[in-house]
Symmetry: C2
Subunit: 259 residues, 2 copies
């Protein structure tokens, strides 16, 4: 037997949030980010000062999540179910930890992610008060066949620098494989689903902005191809507003059961 402190368990958690009133995912100096609220609440429940969580990646202010993933290291002796109940009683109603389970200390929410899925919700015309915080209302008519053609150009393995907010001088690897970029229309709702091995900063909102410009006739499908090949962002690519965007799922290779 040793007198050393017990090795903390690594926990993998999945959370959902209405991003409307959060200052994005990433911790802010003045607080108010999703990460700040989770760290403060988990720290209090586990009796740890300065508890740190690690998200799969940041989401911008106003962006929502159904399946954001984070991990943290800590000692909690009462099992996952009681952790979820304790969190439910402590977190604001706009933030929910949906699952929590002990995993191998090899697991890393950010570096272990092998894929992500986002959905973006458009509304054709004026949305009602219940939908407005969660859609982008587009009032001009959209030509869906042009949007489909542009999506076909964008799918696959490309350098997506022109469709991101990555600084042109950064030497970051900006090649990603966009496995899925699809449109589903239902009545006046249009959902765009994007799935990739990873996304650059503001990439989904840039892709959606470009698709909508194509649908409105402001951008040609061939211009989309030229932008992709040119690798330089221009004023032709608009960034869709944050409130329509939802992080749906983060994938990992496989997660071993905890120690």
């Amino acid at each position: 037997m040793s007198n050393a402190a017990p090795v903390p368990t690594r926990w993998k958690c999945v959370c959902a949030y209405d991003g409307t009133h959060f200052k994005g995912w990433q911790s802010q100096l003045g607080g108010g980010a999703v990460q700040d609220v989770l760290e403060k609440t988990l720290g209090r429940l586990l009796g740890v000062e300065n508890l740190r969580i690690h998200g799969s990646g940041r989401t911008d202010s106003g962006v929502h999540a159904h399946g954001q993933v984070f991990h943290f290291d800590g000692n909690w002796r009462h099992g996952p179910d009681k952790l979820l109940v304790a969190l439910r009683g402590s977190l604001p109603s706009t933030l929910q930890v949906k699952s929590a389970r002990p995993v191998s200390s090899e697991f890393h929410a950010r570096f272990g992610a092998t894929g992500k899925t986002y959905c973006y919700h458009l509304h054709l015309g004026d949305a009602d008060p219940f939908q407005r915080p969660f859609v982008w209302s587009v009032y001009r008519p959209l030509d869906l066949s042009r949007m489909e053609a542009a999506a076909a150009v964008l799918r696959g393995r490309h350098d997506f620098r022109a469709f991101s907010a990555v600084n042109g001088t950064e030497r970051e690897n900006t090649v990603r494989t966009l496995r899925r970029l699809s449109l589903q229309r239902r009545g006046r709702s249009l959902r765009i689903t994007a799935e990739a091995d990873g996304f650059l900063y503001k990439m989904v909102r840039s892709l959606v902005g470009a698709l909508v410009s194509c649908g409105e006739g402001k951008l040609e499908v061939e211009q989309v191809r030229a932008l992709l090949e040119g690798g330089t962002r221009t004023a032709a690519v608009h960034t869709a507003p944050p409130q329509g965007l939802f992080l749906m799922k983060v994938e990992y290779k496989k997660i071993a059961k905890g120690n």
Copy 2:
């Protein structure tokens, strides 16, 4: 030709609101009710001080609407479509006027109503952050067959005084015809639809409270029958919380086209 001011047109409007942050429908001294916001906004657009609107009835603080109806008298020379666009630009995003049309001056939103439909949304277990403002989460298991049996007792023409917040000494006519009281379950969502020629104060929330108590096994179906026949509210009837309730539709006999 006369020099008198033009006779104002009566307008019938249908509106939707997320009631979370409103102080109910009915005008409050300090403002903040849906009626206050509509009166202020319409008054400004029409250039009328102290414009008054007349709703089909009040909804409590926290209750939502997809189809609340109100009328007002005023002069607007640019047609219904431009009125809707002007309102969209002026109202908060949580409040929407969905339709507006000139009607006969005989039309009255409150006194002309012949029926109303409400929906109440229950969630079986913990709801996610996007549903929470719009459901009542019930954590105990519910026996739906008991709830169905209680609903069958409540349907029809009865004195609903025991299922309202009407003061026992008031001589108000408390007989109503509950044409529909039905349950629709879909996954963990349970929707209760209530349709009647009119509802007493807090009647839908009292009916829902009683149905849930029956489902939880705290109230017997025969007790529901006895309450209905006794006509006196007791502590056995709980009022369901406001956030699950939506005013869906208000019916009128027939509305003549405006002058």
